[in-house]
């Protein structure tokens, strides 16, 4: 499908929490610069997929390859150094630090050029807030800070978890542009999103999940007419 060799390739990934099978053999691939949407009803395993790929949880079974190399056993910071980064559904900035310090610490420990901080602040419209404590930012600002913290580490694969939730239409529009710009620079994006309108701005290719499994892969338009997909969303 993808013209170039895959950046990320996930095979038969499984994860169980007690009696609950959150991931059940998920398989997907992502090329550099590609944007893939991950959709599905609540509890279908989207966020778990991101958590397992990014290293927050370890998988019970299956493999995660980056550039063909297995990263399944690596701790989070090693994955970050290899180019995987992410945002959170509920943003998790370092609340006691200033905006500037949030990015400074990420830049230093990602071995990034300190000059990137300024660019990143500009790019995400955070420059005026540089001296503010992160805890004092509003939710949309915290989301941008979360994203900035991820970008400063120069990711090649960015996992985006429900970035649209809670944003107003103007902010949504800007965020879509921002993510598109990021993708155009060659970063692969895996986007978990409820807001299909927002997702449509970013990509046409989606994977639909249900009960930890992929039930559809293809364009958003085709998915909207797919029988199984409709059942899952409406009947589920």
């Amino acid at each position: 499908m993808s013209p170039s060799a895959p950046l990320l390739s996930v095979e038969r990934l499984s994860k169980r929490f007690g009696a609950f099978q959150a991931l059940d053999g998920l398989t997907l691939e992502l090329a550099p610069g590609e944007v893939l949407g991950l959709v599905g009803p609540n509890g279908s395993g989207k966020t778990t997929a991101i958590n397992v790929i990014s290293g927050v949880y370890s998988a019970d079974a299956g493999s995660i390859l980056l550039d063909g190399r297995s990263i399944g056993g690596l701790p989070i910071h090693r994955r970050a150094h290899l180019g995987i980064n992410r945002t959170f559904q509920v943003p998790k900035p370092f609340r006691g630090l200033t905006v500037g310090e949030n990015l400074e610490v990420a830049a230093v420990y990602s071995r990034a050029d300190r000059a990137e901080i300024g660019k990143c602040l500009e790019f995400l419209e955070l420059a005026p807030l540089v001296g503010r404590e992160a805890a004092s930012l509003n939710s949309a600002q915290q989301k941008r800070l979360d994203l900035a913290r991820a970008l400063i580490a120069r990711p090649r694969l960015l996992l985006v978890d429900e970035l649209g939730a809670g944003l107003n239409p103007v902010e949504l529009q800007r965020m879509a542009q921002t993510l598109t710009t990021i993708a155009r620079s060659g970063v692969a994006l895996l986007v978990v999103e409820h807001l299909l309108g927002f997702l449509r701005e970013l990509t046409t290719r989606v994977v639909v999940m249900d009960a930890g499994r992929e039930i559809f892969e293809g364009s958003l338009e085709v998915a909207a007419r797919d029988r199984q997909v409709i059942d899952v969303f409406l009947g589920g």
């Binding site: 990014s54 290293g55 927050v56 701790p75 989070i76 910071h77 970050a80 150094h81 980064n85 992410r86 959170f88 998790k92 900035p93 370092f94 609340r95 006691g96 630090l97 310090e101 949030n102 400074e104 610490v105 990420a106 230093v108 420990y109 990602s110 071995r111 979360d146 913290r149 991820a150 400063i152 580490a153």
Partner: protein, 302 residues
């Protein structure tokens, strides 16, 4: 001068000069000891969020490590002090897996760990090694002036460590870990390694303080260097002043320990009551300690 440097120099000079005008050196010595321990708690709790109830375990390990280096290996006291610190760090390394536990579990597990160290050191079967419950006598190296001077140096080291953390990326990284350990990982920080380093640094400070204390009193029993009240005092002083700052633990120790020696000498049980009430009020009304009042007034606190 880095942020907070002048304050540190001031405090160290204060304790270097006070003995010339004030004769109760034991009081000054104990105050320095608590300053060091409060900063050690600060390194761990303030910067990483782990509350070590059993912090006194490192203090005791340092006291015993230094004493045994003097008694068994016949080292001079100052090198022995570093053996004490090394013993503390070794104990901390053994206990590093405790850092996998969160919040209250860590606090209680660390308390249990310090009791384990205490019961091993004081076990009658180890009399030939540790003197068991019969205590240590360092009468042959007793030197109150030199041990006082040593504690001044240890204090300087403790303050320098916190000034470093307040000004360095490591300090920033530790605070990031405390706030959001997962995000910290994505910021590229090796969470396990950084907080283990803070844990070892904190243990080393307590070990140095313990060694200097052992030298200064020169006769002590296991119970006196593994006394849980030492942890309690240091924690209360730190919380009272305000964590994750240089000045908070200093202010907390000088005020509360000063007050303790002023009033507490005649009515100590009322002091425990005051401590308890201070803690409860702090949690309910001022969880970030006294210095947060200054912050609210927009005064920068190093």
């Amino acid at each position: 001068m880095p942020r907070g440097g002048w304050y540190s120099v001031g405090v160290v000079l204060l304790f270097a000069l006070l003995p010339f005008v004030y004769g109760n050196h034991a009081l000054l010595f104990n105050m320095m000891m608590y300053l060091v321990l409060a900063q050690g708690i600060n390194v761990l709790f303030g910067f990483t969020g782990y509350l070590p109830f059993g912090y006194v375990g490192f203090f005791g390990a340092g006291a015993y490590g230094a004493s045994l280096a003097i008694l068994l290996v016949h080292l001079p006291p100052v090198p022995a002090l570093f053996v004490g610190a090394a013993v503390s760090v070794l104990v901390a390394l053994l206990l590093a897996p405790l850092l996998r536990l969160s919040g209250a579990y860590f606090a209680i597990a660390s308390l249990a760990a310090s009791e384990v160290v205490y019961y091993i050191v004081s076990n009658p079967h180890l009399v030939s090694l540790t003197q068991g419950p019969y205590g240590i006598s360092l009468a042959q190296v007793y030197n109150s002036g030199a041990s006082y001077a040593t504690m001044v140096v240890v204090l300087a080291m403790a303050l320098a460590a916190v000034v470093y953390l307040r000004n360095s990326h490591m300090g920033l990284a530790l605070q990031a870990i405390r706030e959001e350990p997962i995000s910290a990982g994505f910021a590229g920080i090796n969470v396990v390694r950084e907080r283990t380093r803070a844990w070892l640094l904190s243990a080393a400070l307590a070990g140095l303080a313990g060694g200097a204390y052992a030298w200064h009193v020169s006769v002590f029993y296991p119970k006196s260097v593994f006394d849980l009240n030492i942890s309690v005092f240091a924690i209360v002083f730190t919380l009272f002043g305000g964590v994750a700052t240089l000045v908070g633990p200093i202010v907390g120790t000088l005020l509360l320990y000063g007050l303790y020696n002023w009033i507490g000498i005649s009515q100590p049980e009322y002091f425990q009551l005051v401590f308890g009430i201070v803690i409860v009020l702090l949690v309910l009304f001022l969880p970030n300690g006294l210095v947060s009042l200054l912050r609210r007034a927009k005064i920068h606190v190093p």
